[in-house]
């Protein structure tokens, strides 16, 4: 009535399950069985890969080379500081060179494309306070698009020219602020350029001391906008604003928040701490 259950030692059963010498089965399948199933899966996955590549290819065909399909998540451009420090914390000791050496180094590297000589050579000297619009005429692309000069010297005290150490050696550090690039963004109107203001957060207000902005008033001049994307506008130079902390309190954490003031950009959502603003911690140790 029942198919006889052969009782075997469990160890030989295990061995048989792995390799059965009688039926030449490896893990319960013969060589041809393995071959067939592997061949099937190979063909099947090749086919799937082909299909995936095809759909991806079709999708990529629908994309514009110069402008992403959607930009609604970038309505409020983000802001960022340089040097970034460690987790947006700029902590250094005035007397210890090593503690701020890396900041000046990254600033040097970062600012090298802004060198006046380079900028003059590559970019235009645009008329200020107006957008530098270079529209395409219909299907004919007006490429490559020109970019406006942002000369390192415009950062004056923070250009690293007169003061190689960007004030770090004197406890008056410079922090560069940039507005994230967003293709086609027009951050102002009526000739009013957006400008950066910084302030201390919460109870740190009195620790911050006076600030100096370069270029004057901390503006991002309208002539640097709109941005046409890295493919069309290869040499785009992102405008910067430098903030110099002239007399910040030492040996204490200062929470600084810089934000953009513009008459067109909407304020970012409460959740995004870096949309239209940037927060960082500054701590100058001085013994």
């Amino acid at each position: 009535m029942y198919k006889g259950k052969e009782r075997k030692g469990s160890s030989s059963e295990w061995r048989d399950a792995f390799w059965n010498p009688r039926t030449h089965e490896l893990l319960g399948r013969t060589a041809s069985s393995w071959g067939l199933i592997l061949l099937f899966y190979l063909v099947f996955y090749l086919f799937l890969a082909g299909m995936f590549v095809l759909t991806m290819y079709i999708m990529l065909l629908t994309l514009d080379d110069y402008k992403p399909t959607w930009q609604d998540r970038l309505a409020t451009p983000g802001m960022m500081i340089h040097p970034k420090g460690d987790q947006l914390e700029i902590t250094f000791s005035v007397s210890e060179t090593e503690s701020w050496d890396r900041f000046t180094q990254t600033l040097n590297t970062f600012l090298s494309p802004y060198n006046d000589s380079y900028q003059v050579q590559m970019n235009d000297n645009c008329p200020p306070d107006q957008f530098f619009i270079q529209e395409d005429s219909g299907e004919v692309r007006n490429n490559p698009k020109r970019s406006c000069q942002f000369n390192r010297s415009m950062l004056e005290e923070c250009a690293g020219i007169s003061d190689r150490f960007y004030g770090y050696s004197r406890g008056q550090p410079c922090v560069l602020i940039k507005l994230n690039r967003v293709i086609g963004m027009l951050p102002g109107k009526n000739g009013q350029s957006p400008y950066v203001t910084c302030g201390a957060k919460r109870e740190d207000g009195d620790k911050l001391g006076p600030l100096a902005y370069y270029p004057p008033n901390g503006t991002f001049n309208l002539m640097y906008y709109p941005y046409y994307g890295k493919k069309a506008q290869v040499n785009y130079t992102q405008p910067l604003v430098a903030v110099k902390f002239l007399n910040a309190s030492v040996n204490t954490d200062i929470n600084v928040e810089c934000k953009i003031n513009s008459n067109t950009l909407e304020a970012g959502s409460e959740r995004d701490k870096f949309a239209g603003r940037v927060s960082f911690k500054l701590r100058i140790n001085h013994t």
Partner: protein, 1067 residues
């Protein structure tokens, strides 16, 4: 022929008795009717062949239905079965009082035959022995049950995930200023999931066990005792050994008593022994066996009539009934087959989850991720791997089936038992009536020297012979006229095969057959008015009737006759061949014999038909036919043909049916042969010995397929011998079995890997019921103990419900496979995002929250809806599944779900993911390796492919939009998946989309997905974001591919049965 039917005390027999009485009035022709009788008899009544003149079954004429016991000498040493655990319970009942004289008994209990016990003594005994009540079986405390639900199955894995979440959060909280709440929330969600599914399962279980509570309404019993010479009515629980007790008709006997005096006392021992006939009790010891002797009456049996007085000898758990009940409740029952399957499946999934989790944990550490990150990956992999909603889905599916069965009066006590009947491979039953369809049909006919297959189709499309043949018309006329069955009124709209017929089974079969092929039998009978009739009787073994002919000008009478073929043949001198009457020569006789043998060999019941036109000169019109003193010719007839009928066994009936009965072996064998448990052509060792005329010992036991084992032999058998019997015989009858022996039989079958169902109603059946994989008890006739022990209760005692159970069980097994295949498929698109996240360092395509939304949200209703799917093919024609091979979840299911459909789904999800990122500016080439910067909170100027810069939050919103799109894509591909999972072999176009719940499920999951994506506030609550409409369509090509791919696969499957596709992909 005497049909003596005595009323039994049990109401549930009435229906059958009506049938029997009806049949008796109809005086059915015994030859072909006896089987029906026996069939019914053994299905519900104890039918015993008391006198067998021909000594072979089927030839005897006297049947006594449910009459006095010849069971009374059932195996005297019945209690010697058990050898293993619970030894003493399995031993012989230690009652000796029946052999003692009354004085000795009185002395033993310090009692008095007139005065009874003194109150003081009674109180002393009560303290010593405890109350006279059965100890209720130990119940698991509720909190243990709850904990079992809370920590069983996948719960452990999810708990691990939750604890890791809290751990990760704790680490984050300790090391970071503003810890992200994600892990905390996920931990809480996981805990909630486990607790909620645990509660759900717990309440489901509680609900089904609550139904049982209603059976427990035990009314407190009273007993009339004589103490200190006074009759007092006390609570039955206070009865003690030695009490002098009086019982009268209608009472329930409060304890085991030694009868000291009786006046026409009869007790009904049916709940204890299964004997339905009341037995008289008297003070005399009539048998050594306490169970057989007349001077002992047992606890909880009923006194039917008369009065008796007796001394209590056993109380409470020490009574015979108490011992069986204790034995029953002490039995360990194994897991149900479906529970084993689910456990097996959980092992697979857990194995995969742990393997992947640990592998990637180690990989993550090697790749230089921090411990915290590695732990978070681990959590993700666990969450993605565990089909959180599946166990709830399974529970719901089982509950739905249980409800459906409850509607058909089939109450399932244990949810998991729903499936068990479907996989049952062995049924132990004395209720053999369960096993055939109870629908006699004409299968073959022989006329014109040829065997023809009967056409049983409603539209007669399957005709295999020439309907216009004169011989066939004559045969049909004989079968229609010489037939007392008729359709019950008011069924004209029903298909012929479904109509109810008044009449016995074989005549009904003939009636339906003729009605189907030749049109109205009633009209035929009206045309041929009946003038005389001799009903069947067993001396003649024929039935005849005389009719006027159809032709009004023909004044001859037509005599038609049917009966046992050889008897009919004896009366014939001619035979109708091709419409011409030919003399019956040896050649034709041999042809007849061959046909008879062949049909008989098929196990069919063969009838012969003949007719004659009576010569007008001898029997002129108006001739007075005298049927008492036959004054007309009944020989020199013209043979017309044979018709054979079968009562088809229920297609789903397991090939192994073991009959376990208390009957005498000869009777049991006869019944077994009659109902096909021992099929025609199969012989027992004894039969072979008799045929070859050699001693039994010389017969090779392997030659015998059938076997009849006497209960008393059973106890002498070693385990190996027992296994040998079960393994080498397909048809086994155990006769004279005691409760303990039934238990041994069940254990033997289970040892051989069978899934055993036991049906029974008496207390004596309860140990076997409990031990069986599924015990089926009777709702009306069953004793409380048997109901307690059973997993399923047939509320209306209708055995046809068992077939419903088998069907539902198989259907739910199939549908659970589909549900699981559907649910598991979405695991691949849930796991692969993590794997690519870790290996290729792309932003995470699918988050844990969205995974939970799929598993516990959108996948639930479609998965449950598959439980409503109708069967694809005739599931009743299948063999019962082999638990060793046919797993719920097998490698083919995993191969399809994980390796094929799941992969397509994952691609669909990834495609949506890449579309969204690309359209937002991150082309695929930019993504590889971006993860470290992407997930860095302090990087707020991450550059995309177009040179734009993104803050952390901005790109995270895009990432979460991707999660949402991936989630929606899974919903889209799951549309196709649920449609392909509807069927395992058939095309959806064959199966149709009639499952309304499934259609609802499709809309529901879509609506839920849309809600989760678009409802305001979801961005904060679940971090799901609104999708652009076009993103919904990303996965459509993949959904379509799934559908087409699987349809092609199923097409190949159907085209090449047993081919490679089936071997590799048919789950």
């Amino acid at each position: 022929m005497i049909y003596k039917i005595q009323a039994t005390s049990q109401g549930h027999f009435t229906r059958v008795q009506h049938y029997l009485l009806y049949s008796a009035r109809q005086k059915p022709h015994g030859e072909f009717n006896k089987a029906r009788w026996l069939y019914f008899g053994c299905s519900q009544l104890l039918v015993h062949t008391v006198r067998m003149p021909d000594s072979t079954y089927g030839r005897s004429d006297s049947y006594r239905v449910a009459t006095t016991q010849d069971k009374a000498d059932r195996s005297p040493k019945k209690k010697k079965g058990g050898t293993k655990d619970m030894d003493d319970l399995k031993k012989e009942v230690p009652i000796t009082e029946h052999k003692m004289s009354i004085e000795e008994v009185c002395r033993k209990f310090n009692t008095d035959i007139v005065q009874g016990l003194t109150n003081a003594k009674a109180a002393e005994y009560l303290i010593r022995d405890g109350p006279n009540a059965l100890t209720p079986p130990p119940t698991t405390p509720e909190w243990v049950k709850f904990c079992r639900q809370l920590f069983g199955g996948f719960s452990i894995l999810l708990w691990t995930g939750a604890i890791l979440c809290f751990l990760a959060y704790a680490i984050q909280a300790a090391t970071e200023d503003e810890p992200a709440g994600d892990n905390l929330y996920l931990g809480i969600v996981l805990t909630a999931v486990v607790v909620i599914t645990g509660c759900f399962s717990y309440f489901q279980e509680a609900k089904s066990s609550k139904i049982m509570e209603s059976f427990k309404n035990m009314v407190p019993q009273q007993a009339l005792v004589i103490r200190e010479g006074e009759k007092v009515t006390i609570n039955a629980e206070e009865v003690v050994g030695g009490d002098l007790i009086e019982v009268k008709g209608g009472d329930r006997i409060p304890a085991d008593i030694r009868v000291v005096s009786a006046h026409g006392c009869k007790v009904d021992n049916s709940s204890l022994t299964g004997e339905s006939e009341p037995q008289s009790r008297s003070p005399d010891c009539t048998h050594d066996n306490p169970l057989e002797t007349r001077n002992v009456a047992f606890f909880s049996t009923n006194c039917v009539e008369g009065t008796a007085r007796g001394i209590v000898i056993c109380t409470g758990d020490r009574t015979v009934m108490g011992r069986i009940a204790t034995l029953t409740s002490g039995l360990e029952t194994g897991k149900t087959p479906i529970a084993k399957e689910i456990e097996h499946f959980i092992h697979i999934i857990t194995g995969v989850a742990v393997f992947l989790g640990v592998t990637f944990f180690i990989l993550a550490i090697i790749l230089g991720y921090s411990w915290l990150e590695a732990v978070i990956f681990l959590i993700g992999i666990i969450v993605a791997n565990v089909p959180e909603g599946l166990l709830a889905t399974v529970t719901v599916c089982l509950t739905l089936t249980a409800k459906r069965m409850a509607k058909k009066n089939c109450l399932v006590k244990n949810l998991e038992a729903v499936e068990t009947l479907g996989s049952t491979s062995t049924i132990c039953s004395d209720k053999t009536g369960t096993l055939t369809q109870n629908r006699m049909t004409v299968a073959h006919m022989w006329f014109d020297n040829q065997i023809h297959e009967a056409d049983t189709t409603e539209d007669q499309s399957g005709a295999s012979f020439d309907k216009s043949s004169v011989t066939w018309l004559s045969l049909a006329r004989v079968a229609g006229l010489c037939n007392r069955a008729q359709f019950k009124a008011g069924q004209d709209s029903l298909p012929i095969l479904k109509r109810d017929v008044a009449g016995d089974a074989s005549e009904s079969a003939l009636l339906k057959c003729i009605e189907l092929s030749c049109g109205s039998v009633r009209a035929m009978r009206d045309r041929n008015k009946k003038v005389a009739e001799i009903p069947f009787n067993s001396t003649n073994k024929y039935q005849l009737s005389v009719h006027e002919t159809e032709d009004p000008n023909d004044n001859r009478y037509l005599l038609v006759m049917k009966g046992a073929p050889e008897r009919i043949l004896d009366r014939c001198t001619t035979i109708l061949v091709q419409g011409k009457e030919q003399p019956m020569d040896e050649e034709l006789k041999e042809a007849f014999q061959n046909a008879y043998m062949e049909l008989g060999g098929l196990g069919e019941r063969v009838l012969g038909f003949c007719h004659v036109l009576l010569p007008e000169d001898q029997y002129p019109k108006g001739f007075a036919f005298d049927t008492e003193d036959v004054n007309f010719q009944t020989d020199n007839l013209c043979f017309v043909g044979l018709m054979s009928m079968i009562d088809p066994p229920r297609a789903a009936v397991p090939d192994a049916v073991i009959m376990v009965t208390g009957d005498h072996p000869i009777t049991a064998k006869a019944i077994a042969k009659g109902v096909g448990i021992i099929s025609e052509g199969n012989e027992t060792v004894e039969d072979i010995a008799a045929r070859l005329n050699i001693p039994v010992s010389q017969v090779n036991p392997r030659d015998a397929k059938a076997c009849v084992v006497h209960g008393t032999d059973l106890k002498d058998l070693s385990q190996d011998q027992m296994d040998d019997i079960l393994r080498n015989h397909t048809e086994i009858v155990f006769a004279r079995t005691s409760p303990q022996q039934k238990l041994i039989i069940v254990e033997g079958c289970q040892r051989l890997g069978a899934i055993v169902a036991v049906t029974g109603d008496g207390v004596n059946d309860s140990p076997a019921l409990k031990k069986a994989d599924i015990g089926v008890a009777m709702g009306i006739s069953g004793s409380d103990v048997s109901k307690q022990a059973a997993d399923m209760i047939l509320l209306d005692d209708n055995f046809a419900s068992i077939v419903t159970g088998v069907e539902e069980g198989r259907l739910i097994f199939d549908n659970l496979k589909k549900s699981i295949a559907y649910t598991l498929t979405s695991n691949i698109p849930e796991i692969t995002p993590f794997l690519f996240f870790i290996i290729v360092n792309i932003p995470l395509p699918l988050g844990t929250i969205t995974i939970l939304c799929i598993d516990l949200g959108t996948d639930m209703v479609p998965a449950i809806s598959l439980a409503y799917e109708t069967a694809e093919s005739d599931i009743m024609k299948r063999q019962p599944r082999n638990p060793a091979r046919d797993k719920l979840v097998n490698e083919r299911l995993i191969s399809i779900a994980y390796g094929q459909i799941g992969m397509i789904q994952a691609l669909g999800g990834f495609f949506a993911y890449f579309v969204i990122l690309a359209e937002n500016g991150f082309l695929p080439s930019r993504l590889v390796g971006i993860r470290l910067n992407w997930d860095d909170r302090s990087t707020n100027d991450l550059e995309d492919s177009y040179g734009q810069q993104w803050t952390y939050e901005q790109r995270k919103i895009v990432e979460f939009t991707c999660h949402t799109a991936f989630f929606v894509s899974i919903v889209v591909v799951q549309w196709a998946d649920v449609i392909i999972c509807k069927t395992r072999r058939n095309s959806v176009f064959q199966q149709g989309m009639r499952n309304k719940i499934l259609i609802f499920g499709l809309f529901e999951e879509t609506a839920l997905a849309a809600f989760l994506s678009y409802c305001p506030g979801m961005d904060v609550a679940l971090r799901m974001y609104p999708l652009k409409p076009s993103w919904w369509f990303c996965a459509f090509p993949y959904s379509f591919l799934i559908f087409v791919y699987d349809e092609i696969r199923k097409l190949l499957l159907r085209r090449n049965p047993g081919g490679w596709v089936e071997r590799e992909t048919y789950y």
